[in-house]
Amino acid sequence: MTDLNPTLKANSALEPTIYEISQPGRIGVNLPKCDVPETPLPTELLRDDLDLPEASELDVVRHFVKLSHLNHSIDKGFYPLGSCTMKYNPKINEDVARYSGFNLLHPLADEDSAQGALHVMYTLQGWLAEVSGFDAVSLSPAAGAQGEFAGILMIRKYHLDRGDAERTKILVPNSAHGTNPATVTMAGLTVIELPSDHNGDVDLKALKAVCEGPERDNIAGMMITVPSTLGLFERQILDVIAAVHDAGGLMYMDGANMNALMGIVKPGELGFDVMHYNLHKTFSTPHGGGGPGSGAVGVNEKLKPFLPGPVVDIVEPADDENEEPLYGFVMPEKSIGRLKAFHGNFGMHTRAYAYIRAYGGEGLREVSRHAVLNANYVRAKLMDTYVIPYPRYCGHEFVLEGHFEGVEDVHALDISKRLMDYGIHPPTNYFPLIVPEALLIEPTETESKQTLDEFIEVMKKIAVEAREDSSLLTTAPHNAPVSRLDEVRAAKQLVLCCAPVFKDS
């Protein structure tokens, strides 16, 4: 059994922990006195210890400001992380999300007291549905993975509701994001993995073999990302959808790559039954260092009764006396149930609302047009320097192989680490799994030609460095706050929290 919290014997640190900065007796807040008569405390129920930091307000400010300086961020520089859509996070969105009327509103406020907030949610539901061609949307899932989970649970319940308990399998391409198969397992279903063909599309022959074969009646549905995780528009998407529908299954679209599709094609019109949105990708809500996200789901009429709840609906229409309808929370009649407490990450709803307001329909199409323009530009300019599989136009992202012929010791990871030295965040590494040494590059539409040209120059320079002195890459980064980390050691000698170090004397 590995020992938790042994002394790690580092010889220095970038910034002490807040515990190390603490001094007994310090406090970082000014609290009011008690203005009511005190009630005796139940001493036998109370704890004796509470090892939290003791720091002054300035200590805390300096500490977190210094920590912030150790991060790369979109506000600081280029962040071409494929499949994450690291677009600019508009500042007005931060302001509106913080208006008191939203920030200080209790989630269990009586509905009459929350009409402004409910209006935001109801309207956003409608806009998201319009963008993707669906009939109804639920804003309750907290993140993309939760949205996926909702989608698969809805498909499962749809079949059970029809009296069909045989449909327990979900088709998933081998290029899928890891959350896809993990979601299927969580829902109590099993995965049938499908290969991709040499064009980067789903292998249609293999798909048809499954859809027309002995497992035909076990197919609950299929999960697919469009454009694919390779950044490529599935050319035979209509055939894929038809094959699965003919077998009696439903089609789920992983909407992580919506940034390539707005005003370009509507998944609902293609025939998808359900899709999740990542408000923190396509709709600019900030990534926050790993969350919060927001994973709304959209469905057609067939799946509408099964949406996770609650959703916002009009409970009393507008009339002669009332200009505005009355909004309220409603649990869909055959809902898969509640996926989180309350009704979703409302702070993300306000931001996404403001974002869509800033663009309108024509504007959102420009977002996707320019996202795809930027990716294809970078791709075209790097074609002579890197191996880029799939000779065709890409969507909003593309994958290249991060290695060089004749340079055995350089891998995608090394290129990534060297990019850091140039102030650029690495692209997504080793995903999708089907491309060797994959580097998945997604510029997004908010990057200028200058930024892209700088990136292209750097990527070309790194290719030259790899041949002239590969150690520059294999020992990178050299200019980051820390050098390469011993990740193996982190997993073997688990140190997962500060052992509070208090100077008692």
């Binding site: 580092a10 609290l31 509470l50 200080l104 009586d110 260092g289 663009y359 850091m420 980390l485 929290c497």
Partner: protein, 444 residues
């Protein structure tokens, strides 16, 4: 208005480099029959117009800035020091991504490491993860862990009815695809009743501390009974209360989950919030979600990195125990900054303010004819009041007096019709409490 920087010249240069004439040429793979649909959305607004519209929408809500709030029930109005928001507005934190490239993410990683440490301290546990979506989902994830720990040989989970009803609903939604049984919360089972349900088919028993009714139950005998059958004791807690009361670790809990919103996250109409998940060291390798660990770099410098990654979805795929990808990074940072500012003494002081004000209010209300406060068990900052009329009626009258009243428990518990769950925090002044009491007196 747009955030797209391209000029017409630049577009032309880029198209030329790609070898096409128009951007539309890049979409040849999209089925022609469905290409370029119209998006029926209102025309774009300028930034000024967005601000005006949303200000009006915000102002129309009846919120804790304008009203005295006495409602908790899973979301609590506490004072968040200014520093917290200033740190959260730093673009280096909120516009950063998940720290998959640790060398350029040490700020995020160290903040989460410190957050994990504070959760361990508050809960009396050995390890905590980097957070879940909310308290409800962290409870749902605890079930998965308990099943893994008991090697999927047990099928039963006992839930106290005194756990937040929404949380229990989420647990059932999460696991509707599995063949596990959730029992114990259909009626008014006491702790003794729940103990009677324990058997060798039980993977886990979960209780709430304080419970949904604000009460502090007596957990002294519970852990031993649960462990005797080889099951795990899961406690769902309010971190603010943990500043005062004995830690779940001290009481024998194996897994501690709950909602971190009370320590540094605003009400925000329900989200984003932050679920925490802490365990004894025995179960660390079974935790779902991200965990940050300490290591060194090639020059011996201390550094932080996401660790135990093989548990996660991107590596285990269909063998992963959970599909979790996002945590609630920015909210964990909020909690970390809040707890750093409050510290050992500050958090205890705030908790005591809650305690004293809630007990003062309870005493005054209990003395009102027609109203009676449930005193069966000790309570922290929430208590149950039996009312002389329907809670909805009372709340309607209170709103006119500038007060948001308690939560109507009859909505969730048939036996608690006409009972309100009242919450008092350090945000409620004595004057506000006295006005509440006077308004209630009129409604007797």
């Amino acid at each position: 208005m747009s955030y797209i920087p391209h000029t017409e010249l630049e577009r032309q240069q880029m198209l030329s480099a790609i070898g096409v004439t128009t951007i539309e040429d890049l979409f040849d793979a999209v089925p022609a029959s469905h290409r370029f649909p119209k998006l029926n959305l209102p025309a774009a607004f300028s930034e000024m117009e967005i601000a005006a519209e949303m200000q009006a929408l915000a102002d129309s809500n009846e919120h804790a800035g304008d009203f005295a709030l006495f409602r908790g029930a899973g979301a609590y109005h506490h004072y968040i020091p200014s520093v917290v928001n200033h740190m959260l507005l730093r673009g280096e934190f909120y516009t950063a991504y998940t720290p998959y490239q640790p060398e350029v993410s040490q700020g995020t990683l160290q903040a989460i490491f410190e957050y994990q440490s504070m959760m361990c301290t508050l809960m009396g546990m050995d390890a905590a993860n980097a957070s879940h979506y909310d308290g409800a989902t962290s409870l749902a994830e605890a079930v998965t862990v308990a099943m893994e720990v008991t090697r999927y040989k047990r099928k039963k989970v006992i839930l106290s009815h005194a756990i937040n009803p929404q949380y229990r609903a989420v647990v059932r939604t999460y696991h509707q695809g599995r063949d596990w049984k959730f029992v114990g919360d259909g009626g008014r089972a006491t702790q003794a009743d729940l103990i009677d349900m324990l058997d060798d088919n039980t993977a886990m028993l979960a209780v709430s501390y304080p419970n949904f009714f604000g009460q502090i139950e007596d957990f002294k005998a519970l852990a031993e009974k649960v462990h005797n059958v080889g099951a795990l004791l899961v406690m769902m807690v309010n971190p603010m209360a943990m500043a005062m009361y004995k830690s779940p670790g001290e009481l024998g809990a194996d897994i501690v989950v709950g909602e971190g919103q009370p320590v540094g996250v605003p009400l925000g109409f329900g989200g984003p919030y932050v679920g925490f998940f802490a365990t004894r060291s025995d179960y660390v390798r079974k935790i779902a979600g991200r965990i940050v660990g300490e290591t060194v770099d090639q020059d011996g410098r201390r550094a932080y990195v996401m660790t135990l990654r093989p548990r996660e979805q991107d590596i285990r795929r269909e063998k992963a125990s959970s599909n979790i990808c996002t945590n609630q990074g920015l909210m964990a940072l909020s909690a970390c900054v809040y707890l750093s500012l409050m510290g050992k003494r500050g958090l205890r002081t705030v908790a005591e303010l809650n305690y004293h004000k809630a007990h003062y209010a309870a005493d005054q209300i209990d003395a009102l004819p027609g109203f009676s406060v449930n005193r069966e068990m000790p309570f922290f900052n929430e208590f149950v009041v039996k009312c002389p009329r329907p809670v909805a009626e009372i709340n309607e009258a209170l709103i006119d007096a500038g007060i948001v009243g308690g939560y109507d428990l009859g909505q969730d518990y048939a036996h608690l019709k006409d009972h309100a769950l009242l919450c008092v925090t350090e945000m409620n002044t004595k004057a506000e409490i006295d006005v509440l009491v006077e308004e209630l007196r009129k409604l007797a």
